[in-house]
């Protein structure tokens, strides 16, 4: 009774009825990691569903066979998990693709079919006037096959002069044809195929070609070339597809408004340290902006809608997609039911989602259900941007850098903290007037923050 280490194959499951393959998005477990049964081991992406694959066993991740971004057929092995079994009678995992080929390699010494002639063999023998007893049989249990006769006929023509040795020439020196063939020969001799060898011609062309492989660019540092090829990751590919779909389907229009956020700067500076102490998260401008936007959407619910060809669907829940950039991607996690959260709640949510995004820990649930997108472009110093709508939403809003500028108020020049807010809109759903009013409401909300504003 000794501990047995055993590698269990994990297969790509059938994720939906008609799917035959799925792309491995990300490995959540690396070799050496301990895994409990039902714990997710990797994320997979298909055109129908995105899902996590749970482990089928307790154990330790052995080896990853599928690479991230690789498309794997249903039922193929994606990784191996090593399990420790104390049971003596371990059933060894047999690979499912073993093929029984023994039938071909073993030639039985049984000659019971030697004199059973098929209709085809008898027809051919009659046609060529052959004595079947002269013909060696290579078929099952010594049976003469149609091909044996054909081969014999072909040889017979070339060696007509000495017909009695025709069979000995074939069987290598055995005198009596009844003793027949050498049993060590394979059932079908290779020589029979050499003469018949012809490439398998197909009689109806084009559609039988093999599926062309989609080119997979790899990074290759070719000498003498001033360019590098970068592999498209699944995430990059998704971003590209969504962006393209958005700009090609949605007629974008764009507008911008200027907001005086001097009071907002004051209130934030006053409260941020205490907030950080009490809540452990930063009190960002973004949280105030989100609150202002959500309240404006409540007044103009059409901003929270989707174009559906013959109707416009207005969503009741306000779920704000938040664009969060990392070094090489941009993700849009969603603040679910943002209309039910106060400024403090929004601040926590923003920090939570941003952290998850940067650590690559976003779950699919975090990414779904968005109804309106906000992008804090000011965080990287932009003062004006032209965002692409997060398909299929109706609009996207950006919050630009806060900069101090001389502003004319009541014919006097004052130094105020100003920020631009840009909006791209789906012109099928929205027009200038409604968006103008919406932005005015956002502006009023932002400028309406005072030192008395409640965070909770």
């Amino acid at each position: 009774m000794s501990d047995n280490k055993q590698l269990i194959d994990v297969f790509m499951p059938q994720l939906a009825e008609s799917l035959v393959s799925a792309t491995v998005g990300k490995w959540l477990k690396q070799p050496g990691d301990r895994i409990e049964q039902y714990e997710p081991i990797c994320e997979v992406i298909t055109d129908k569903v995105n899902a996590e694959i749970p482990s089928t066993v307790d154990g330790i991740m052995g080896e990853l066979i599928a690479e991230e971004g690789q498309t794997i057929g249903v039922g193929e092995v994606i990784c191996r998990i090593s399990v420790i079994s104390t049971n003596e009678s371990v059933s060894v995992n047999i690979p499912s693709n073993t093929v029984t080929v023994e039938a071909s390699s073993t030639v039985s010494s049984d000659q019971s079919m030697r004199s059973r002639y098929s209709p085809a063999v008898q027809s051919l023998a009659a046609e060529h006037g052959l004595n079947l007893a002269d013909i060696p049989g290579t078929g099952m249990a010594g049976r003469i096959t149609r091909k044996d006769v054909l081969a014999y006929v072909e040889r017979g023509h070339s060696e007509q002069a000495k017909p009695s040795t025709a069979s000995s020439a074939l069987t290598g020196g055995i005198n009596s044809p009844f003793q027949g063939l050498s049993h060590t020969n394979p059932a079908v001799t290779p020589s029979q195929y050499v003469e018949n060898k012809s490439p398998a011609a197909r009689n109806s062309g084009l559609h039988l070609n093999e599926t062309p492989q989609i080119p997979n660019n790899v990074i290759e540092g070719q000498q003498g070339r001033a360019e590098t090829l970068i592999d498209i990751t699944p995430v990059r590919n998704t971003i590209a597809t969504r962006m393209r779909q958005s700009v090609s389907e949605i007629p974008h229009a764009w507008t911008m408004i200027e907001v005086d956020v001097t009071n907002l700067v004051l209130i934030r500076n006053k409260l941020k340290d205490e907030f950080k102490r009490n809540e452990g998260v930063n009190l960002t401008y973004l949280a105030f902006l989100l609150k202002a936007v959500v309240n404006a959407i409540k007044d103009y619910p059409i901003m929270n809608s989707v174009w559906a060809t013959d109707k416009i669907i207005v969503k009741r829940d306000i779920n704000i997609s938040l664009a969060v950039g990392t070094d090489d991607t941009v993700m849009v996690p969603v603040i679910q039911k943002a209309d039910q959260k106060n400024i403090a709640g929004l601040a926590k949510e923003v920090e939570d989602l941003a952290t998850k995004t940067r650590q690559g820990k976003l779950k699919l649930d975090d990414m779904q259900g968005g109804t309106f997108t906000v992008n804090n472009t000011g965080s990287f110093g932009s003062v004006l941007s032209y965002p692409i709508i997060n398909y299929p939403q109706a609009a996207i809003l950006t919050f630009e850098s806060i900069v101090k500028r001389p502003v004319v108020i009541n014919d006097m020049i004052a130094v105020r903290s100003m920020a631009n807010i840009c909006l791209s809109l789906d012109h099928r759903i929205l027009d200038g007037v409604i968006c103008g009013r919406f932005l005015q409401r956002v502006k009023e909300n932002l400028e309406g923050y005072t030192l008395d504003t409640k965070l909770y």
Partner: protein, 328 residues
């Protein structure tokens, strides 16, 4: 020419025929707003409107009956059965009405309907989402039955079926939907009904089949040629009713050894009829007993994964049968 999936080819065929002939329309469960449970009719309602892509109640008998009535009135309906398993309530309409109208009316009336239904298992669909019901309709004169294997054929045969003046059952294989991907011309072509297709030339054994299992036959044939030098002649029947007798006999005469492969169960299946034709017409060309590799005579596809695996044909099962026949 574009690389597309089998399911895209089917969708494209319907789209092209609907653009070509305003009498062509689709009806079925969830074909409109949802675009079909497999997305076969996705986008067609947007393009052609809800009068030409109609969502129906869950009543297959009504789907077929309405389609038959519309067809007799001069329309060209494409009736979708969500799964061929759900088709049985419509068999009375299809067998007793659609198949017999031309005969019964002494050629005064005809019934140009197409009934599309996905067949086949291996998708863990269990009893009511996996059946192959072609043998139920196979022995009914007056019906044509089509079961394409390639995306090219799926498009060409569906277009031919839509233009055909008589009822055609179009059995598309749901496992092929996304598995089979190939070049399909974007122009208007048809694949004629009743004509089989040689997928591969060979002179050791002849394999005759249709629909999804041909995929395994082709894989096994490639491997056998490489590993053992056995060359297989593979014939795709494409149309099950009427069978292309000449093509069957011709391909049998090439090798004298025949294996018939299909996923429908063995007893009373298409293979039985093909086998009977061969023994009636070319007994003296046979070099081995006619062999059949089909699913077992089990009432329905099991829902347990190991049992589904047992039930379904696979490349390995086909290969084993091919080796057995080659060695015979």
């Amino acid at each position: 020419m574009a690389v597309m999936e089998y399911i895209d080819a089917i969708r494209l065929a319907m789209k092209e025929e609907m653009e070509r002939d305003e009498n062509v329309f689709i009806l079925g469960e969830d074909v409109g707003v949802k675009g079909g449970v497999f997305t076969t009719t996705k986008g067609l309602m947007d393009q052609f409107g809800e009068e030409r892509v109609m969502d129906t109640p869950l009543a297959e008998s009504a789907i077929a009956g309405v389609a038959i009535g519309a067809a007799m009135y001069g329309m060209k309906p494409i009736a979708e059965m969500q799964y061929s398993d759900f088709m049985l309530p419509a068999t009375n309409q299809i067998i007793s009405e659609a198949a017999k109208i031309r005969y019964r009316s002494n050629n005064d009336w005809n019934c140009p309907i197409v009934v599309r239904a996905p067949i086949g298992g291996g998708i863990f669909g269990g009893l009511y989402h996996s059946q192959c019901p072609e043998s139920i309709f196979f022995g009914t004169p007056g019906l044509k039955i089509v079961a394409p294997y390639s995306a090219y054929d799926a498009k060409g045969l569906l277009k031919a079926a839509i233009r055909d003046p008589d009822p055609v059952l179009f059995f598309e294989n749901k496992k092929c939907y996304k598995l089979i991907k190939e070049d399909v011309p974007l122009d208007d072509y048809i694949v004629p009904l009743g004509v089989a297709n040689v997928l591969r030339e060979g002179d050791d054994i002849t394999v005759i089949g249709y629909s999804m299992p041909l995929h395994f036959c082709m894989q096994a044939a490639e491997e056998l040629e490489k590993e053992m030098g056995i060359t297989a002649h593979v014939l795709d029947l494409r149309t099950l009713q009427p069978l292309d007798r000449n093509a069957i006999l011709e391909s049998v005469r090439k090798t004298g050894k025949v294996l018939i492969v299909h996923e429908d169960n063995k007893t009373g299946g298409i293979g039985a009829e093909v086998s009977a034709i061969i023994s009636e017409e070319c007994l003296y060309d046979l070099d081995a007993p006619i062999m059949r590799l089909c699913s077992p005579d089990v009432p329905a596809m099991p829902i347990s994964p190991p049992m589904e695996k047992f039930y379904m044909l696979t490349k390995d099962k086909v290969k084993e049968a091919m080796i057995h026949l080659a060695n015979y």
